[in-house]
């Protein structure tokens, strides 16, 4: 079994940003993502996740390093000033690198 290094980018943001974020994923060339509603607390206070529009979502994207870099860059430039949001990158290993 061969595993291949890949990046996992995790984004936690306001649900309002959902469409904009998934659109961005397409633009930077990420294929596929996973997404679910979460509640959170951060610089903008608590977000208790009872009204979909005021809740948070967590988006997880496995992708190649260069795409991850580009994704984070555009998040920093275009999204951080606009939305309550956290984004981070970590290292994972996958089996079918061609998939991402």
């Amino acid at each position: 079994m061969n595993t291949h290094p890949m990046k996992l980018v995790t984004i936690v943001c306001e649900a309002y940003a959902k469409e904009a974020v998934t659109k961005l994923l397409g633009e930077v060339g990420a294929v596929g993502y996973t997404l679910f509603p979460v509640e959170g607390s951060g610089a903008r206070g608590r977000r208790p996740a009872d009204i979909p529009e005021y809740a948070n979502i967590q988006v997880e994207v496995i992708t190649r390093p260069e795409v991850a870099t580009q994704l984070l860059q555009r998040l920093e430039q275009e999204f951080f000033p606009r939305y309550g949001m956290v984004a981070f990158e970590s290292d994972v290993r996958v089996l079918r690198p061609a998939k991402f």
């Binding site: 306001e14 309002y16 009872d50 979909p52």
Partner: protein
Amino acid sequence: MLEAIQANLLSPAVLFFALGLVAALLRSELKFPEPLYAALTIYLLVAIGFKGGVAIAEAGLGRIWLPGLAAIVLGCVIPLWTYPVLRFGGRLPAVDAAAIAAHYGSVSAVTFIAATNYLKSIGQPYESYAIAFLAVMESPAILVGVVLGKLATSRSGSSAIPLRTVVHEALFGRSIFLLLGALVIGAICGPAGMDKVGPFFVTPFQGVLALFLLEMGIVAGRRLEDLRKVGPFLLAFGIVVPMVNGAIGVALGQVTGLELGGATLLGVLAASASYIAAPAAIRLSLPEANPTLYLTASLAVTFPFNIALGIPLYFAIARHLYA
């Protein structure tokens, strides 16, 4: 008028709203799970849309188009007159003034539904087709507000979202789609359809609304602590402007041929401020605007004010005009 207010304050719906406020203020862990909120929203929008559609089928478009047009015009005009008030009276940055103006021109479906509930509970008949005004009034003010904001900020930099997206969002948002869809279905089915789905969409309606307002009280209550941040001007704005708009709406309803009940509802729509559709659109198109300002004003000031005092007030105004 005092008795009108009292009747409202002592209704289950308003008391459950107050209970929600109390829960939020006591920092109780109480909240509704998100899918329950979504389910109640879907139910309320579909129920009121369907009922409105049946009413339209019975009334005919002939009686609706004029007040409907008035509603749209009202939606466009409110941001135009409130913008300078915010900008120069309140000394707010242009983009914030535009954002808040958009919220007050747009409407709150829950406030409208609570108002129909109030009229029903005091035995005041109303034109059910007034729901059509709710449907057409959500978007225009948002568009006007966004344009105002864009003009003001001019340097709509790299990250500008095309106006097309905003228009699409404003016109085809989930709630408008549900409302209009149910309205069309109601209009097609007419009273015969109502017989079938009435036991679900009409009979338990008041109880469902009471439960829903409990959650809305919690949501509004959480924002109360931001009141300090918005300052006295916005607080006064959030109470006075709805009263002005409410009076204008009622008068416009009378002029365009609505009855007492319908004019009250048009007043309520004019007076209400959006806190779901408008924030979504403004966040997208005027990201520089400060959400604390527009959300707190609309959700923590105007919404509770309307639910508790505004609705019976606009009704009292209407009764005065129609006397």
